[in-house]
């Protein structure tokens, strides 16, 4: 979506054009959902968080200044929703662990649908990274955000984001180097 499309849509949203909100959903819901899937590794949670993201967007659209792109703004809301959900989950999981004994391991929903072994392996390793590193690599390489946009999403300086992304890539390389796929051995 070009900058002028963004500006036009933002203008329509502020002017109260009837289908402007629908247009925002149609243009951006896939990117938001995919971002949530990569962060949560759970399709159901990703759906819920995507809905929460757009609900928050309607509440805050009037305050949006338009200094960043709409996609960047939505990614920022989505990331905030994810962090909030993760904090809540950590408190809840801790309680369940104490009650049940052990957490239930989940299946990565993305890996099972990837036909290519190498892509599947890369995806699995990506999702084995810790959340901060995974977030950086997903935002930059999978979601296509620039370092400046990532800085807006994460609330960090551009230089810090750039350096941390490079470090995350090194971590991914190290994990890939430790694990060689069965077909390549």
């Amino acid at each position: 979506m070009t900058k002028s499309d963004d500006q036009r849509l933002l203008y329509d949203l502020r002017a109260g054009r009837p289908d402007a909100c629908g247009e925002l959903v149609r243009k951006h819901y896939e990117a938001v959902y995919r971002f949530m899937v990569h962060l949560t590794r759970d399709v159901h949670r990703a759906e819920d968080l995507t809905q929460e993201t757009f609900a928050a967007a309607w509440e805050n659209i009037a305050a949006f200044q338009g200094r960043s792109a709409l996609a960047t703004w939505l990614h920022r809301i989505a990331y905030t929703k994810f962090i909030d959900a993760q904090r809540l989950e950590q408190r809840t999981i801790g309680l369940h662990e104490r009650l049940a004994g052990s957490p239930v391991a989940g299946v990565d929903p993305i890996t099972i649908v990837l036909a290519d072994d190498e892509a599947r392996h890369l995806n699995r390793i990506l999702h084995d990274l810790d959340v901060p590193e995974r977030t950086l690599l997903v935002l930059h390489y999978l979601q296509g955000l620039s370092y400046r946009d990532m800085a807006d999403v994460l609330g960090e300086p551009v230089g810090t984001v750039k350096w941390r992304t490079a470090e995350a890539l090194k971590s991914l390389r190290a994990l890939l180097g430790d694990e060689v796929p069965d077909h390549a051995s």
Partner: protein, 121 residues
């Protein structure tokens, strides 16, 4: 053959990872919760009005409190009130510095200033 793990190759592989599939019905569910129109922008005019009033008040106070320019006075200041018996009523003449008239004073007038006699005719 081991996959290329160079940074450039790895970046390329990340970028070419296929996106996760979209669940059925997600778009419809999201559109179902879309408001008919975007919420109206929060009214900011009270804030701006208050700000304008505050600035105007500050400017007015600044003008009123601005010190007047001290213009040079053409009239010598009024003499101090002299109280009878005050020791400062008259300066001690003996302590005044000596003042001597100029010894030579040439008149700037070069022509006679005598009045002609026929003037009074």
């Amino acid at each position: 053959m081991h996959p290329d793990l160079s940074p450039d190759a790895l970046e390329g592989r990340l970028r070419s990872l296929p996106p996760p599939p979209m669940p059925d019905g997600l778009k419809a569910r999201l559109l179902a919760h879309v408001p008919a129109t975007a919420p109206a922008s929060r009214r900011r005019w009270p804030v701006w009005t208050g700000l304008a009033v505050a600035v105007a008040t500050a400017c007015l106070l600044a003008v009123l409190a601005w010190p007047r320019h001290h213009r040079p006075t053409l009239v010598p200041p009024a003499p101090e009130t002299i109280h009878e018996g005050s020791s400062q009523a008259y300066p001690d003449v003996a302590r005044l510095p000596a003042f001597s008239w100029p010894l030579e004073e040439s008149s700037p007038v070069r022509v006679s200033t005598a009045l002609p006699a026929d003037l009074f005719d």
